[in-house]
């Protein structure tokens, strides 16, 4: 059996996989149900999504978005689906109130983070539980560079660079990537769960340092009065406007991530993920490619940090805790690992849903459950994580190749069982 398993892990370019991939291509999940669907359903759903905010006054708009996104993402191979999804993401928040727009901002932000973490976990197969470190690095970079003297830390008061949000973005890319490499070097030899716990440790170390290095970071008092991004003579100061900034960056990140995945680098990552020893004996420099994965993932996380710092107008060390890393990892896996399309869906579920639940209530005639949404939202969230994993362990929208591998593994399992 071990022998059979090993065979399964062979690089995907070898012949048995051609067959699996071709088969998966022939019947992509979901398309069968929508043989004629796209041409009828998409315009309807799109129109519904655009009109919904005007018709529905409740948080149902969010749930509607969830449904639209799910349907669109399943059939996103058509340009049609992409257009409608993009239209929905742009139009739907217009009819939302401030609270919902805040949720949408978080969803866009976590989508961006998810894309970054997916490079590390999904593409290169390196389990990183300390992704918050890069998020924090971006946020603190923004805070240290742009904070006015009144809100800045003692250290940062010594200079005034006069740069804005837009200039900090590329800086964050570079700085976070460097930190990614710096944290990546010591863990190169580690695998699997050891890597997970060490990266988790890095996340905590960065947070505790930010809390205690008062001179540099102002400690738990935080850095505040951070300016908003300027935009043609005005400032982007609402969650609604920053939502579009986050969304735009997420879209750029998606395109970049998909292109890297399909390049030589992406194939090297895949080989490392499937079997590191084989990959290295095939002449892939695993050190370089692993560090590259850490760097790219970290850079995207750094961008996210800059956005959150600009949105909040302040940074506090305890906002950058393990929960962030766990949420990002959960959304990547729930969405379907290795697949950037799943990430949006994962973000809607993991980041959006618990907040939307706040307003949800049903009357069961029991006082305790009067505000079931507000009081039990995290209980419900925990239970849904378990439920989703038990029902769809490969995630809601796994990449086709993953789905095929998974199916094959199950078939093999069954064959061996009989």
């Amino acid at each position: 059996m071990a022998h059979q398993r090993r065979r399964l892990l062979r690089p995907l370019t070898s012949w048995p996989y051609r067959d699996i991939i071709d088969r998966a291509r022939a019947t992509p999940a979901g398309t069968r149900a929508f043989q004629f669907g796209p041409y009828v359903l998409l315009p309807l759903l799109g129109a519904g999504a655009a009109l919904a905010p005007a018709l529905l006054s409740t948080r149902l708009t969010f749930l509607l978005l969830l449904v639209v996104a799910y349907v669109m993402l399943r059939i996103m191979d058509s340009v049609y689906g992409l257009v409608v999804l993009a239209g929905t993401l742009v139009l739907l928040p217009q009819g939302m109130d401030g609270f919902e727009r805040n949720i949408m901002f978080n969803v866009a932000l976590y989508t961006l983070l998810g894309i970054g973490l997916n490079v590390v976990v999904g593409y290169a197969g390196l389990l990183d539980l300390g992704y918050v470190a890069f998020f924090a690095a971006g946020a603190y970079l923004y805070a240290l560079v742009v904070a006015p003297d009144a809100g800045a830390s003692e250290w940062a008061q010594q200079w005034d660079l006069g740069v804005t949000f837009w200039a900090v973005l590329p800086m964050a890319l570079v700085v976070a990537a460097l930190i990614g490499v710096a944290l990546g070097v010591p863990v190169l030899r580690l695998r699997g769960d050891y890597l997970a716990i060490v990266t988790l440790g890095f996340g905590e170390i960065i947070r505790i340092m930010a809390r205690n290095e008062d001179y540099y970071t102002s400690g738990p008092r935080g850095i505040f009065l951070l300016p908003k991004p300027p935009f043609f003579g005005r400032e982007l100061d609402t969650a609604y406007e920053l939502y579009f900034v986050a969304l735009a960056l997420a879209i750029v990140a998606v395109i970049a991530a998909e292109r890297i995945r399909d390049s030589r680098v992406g194939r090297a990552w895949e080989a490392i993920r499937e079997d590191e020893d084989v990959a290295s004996s095939m002449g892939i420099d695993t050190t370089v490619y692993k560090l590259l994965a850490f760097a790219i993932g970290a850079a995207i996380g750094g961008l996210g940090g800059v956005i959150i710092a600009a949105k909040q107008g302040s940074v506090f060390p305890d906002d950058y805790n393990l929960d962030v890393s766990i949420n990002v990892l959960a959304l990547v896996i729930i969405g379907g690992m290795g697949n950037v399309r799943g990430i949006l869906l994962g973000a809607l579920l993991v980041v959006g849903l618990p907040d939307v639940l706040r307003d949800f209530s049903i009357n069961l005639g029991v006082a305790e459950f009067q505000n079931i949404g507000a009081d039990y939202r995290l209980v419900i969230f925990g239970a849904s994580l378990v439920a989703i994993m038990v029902l769809r362990p490969e995630g809601l929208l796994p990449s086709r190749r993953r789905a095929a591998e998974f199916q094959e593994a199950e078939l093999l399992e069954q064959e061996l069982a009989t």
Partner: protein, 303 residues
């Protein structure tokens, strides 16, 4: 000098707690190759099991005064029972269906269980910190110039007792042998007639029993219980398990004490604000030179 003795005693007390929790991680990892992220929550639920038992006994002053050991024993058993029952449900509902799933699926499922349990307890306690009734006799014995409270001695003794018990169970009993066999090679063990499902449940049960007992004792030691109390000890115990070499029982014990002592000494050497960092810095340092931990098997491939 006196200070160092005090720090050593602190470290051993804390180390014992870490070691007992770490054993649960290491057992489950050894058998399933899975990080049970909800293990810290089992520790927390055990503490609450003990708390509610003590709370129920609070008004029986005669019983508490004449036989405090009985109340304490009942509380510890209640804590163990709570954790064990939860662990059985957890394994059946959240982990067993995922045994052949991709490696990260059980991890997320475990995180889900952990979020669920923590928030249920937050709701039940209204996010309050519950203070345990004082049943454990106060007082201390003096060793030289250093006071060692009874509860500490009890904690150290109990953790040693549990570790010994577990060691004997794993090394000397038939079930323990079966457990080791499943950890070594599940398929072959099944072919030898071992009921793998039963052994996996038993592994969870023994880990949970230890976590529950540790939870009650830790709560008595700090005199309170809160929904968030499992997080840090859980993470650190896991670190201890990895330090010692995850999957190895003596490794987890050693890792626990090593971590407890280093943490305790570091409060004096570096400063208390960085004591939580010490665990992770040590971990990185050790794993760079011995990626398989102190006692782990030198296994270069981990699927």
């Amino acid at each position: 000098m006196q200070q160092w003795i005090q720090l050593t005693i602190d470290g051993i007390t804390l180390g014992g707690v870490y070691a007992v929790i770490a054993l649960g991680y290491t057992l489950v990892y050894g058998v399933l190759r899975m990080i049970n992220f909800a293990h810290g929550e089992l520790f927390m639920m055990g503490a609450f099991g003990g708390f509610y038992t003590l709370d129920a006994f609070e008004n029986h002053t005669t019983l508490n005064d004449s036989l405090p050991s009985l109340t304490i024993a009942v509380a510890i058993f209640a804590g163990m029972a709570t954790s064990v029952v939860l662990a059985i449900i957890m394994e059946r509902v959240a982990y067993r269906p995922l045994r052949h799933a991709p490696r990260l699926a059980p991890l997320i499922s475990a995180i889900g269980v952990s979020i669920l349990l923590r928030n249920v307890m937050l709701r039940v306690t209204n996010a309050r910190r519950e203070v345990l009734p004082q049943v454990f006799p106060r007082g201390a014995i003096e060793i030289g110039d250093v006071n060692v409270t009874y509860i500490r001695i009890f904690l150290v003794a109990l953790s040693l007792f549990f570790m010994l018990l577990l060691y004997v169970f794993i090394q000397r009993t038939k079930t323990g042998t079966a457990m080791r066999a499943v950890a070594e090679d599940r398929d072959t063990a099944a072919l030898m007639g071992i009921d793998v499902d039963r052994i996996i449940v038993l592994t969870f049960v023994s880990g949970a029993a230890l976590a529950g007992a540790a939870g009650v004792c830790y709560a008595m030691y700090t005199t309170n219980a809160a929904a968030g109390m499992g997080f840090l000890p859980g993470i650190k115990a896991f670190t201890a398990a990895v330090l010692g070499g995850i999957g190895s029982v003596p490794g987890a014990m050693f890792g626990g004490y090593f971590l407890g002592l280093s943490e305790s000494y570091s409060t004096r050497l570096i400063g208390a604000q960085y004591k939580d960092v010490v665990a992770f810095v040590l971990l990185v340092a050790v794993l760079i030179f011995r990626p398989w931990g102190f006692f782990g098997k030198r296994e270069d491939r981990r699927a």
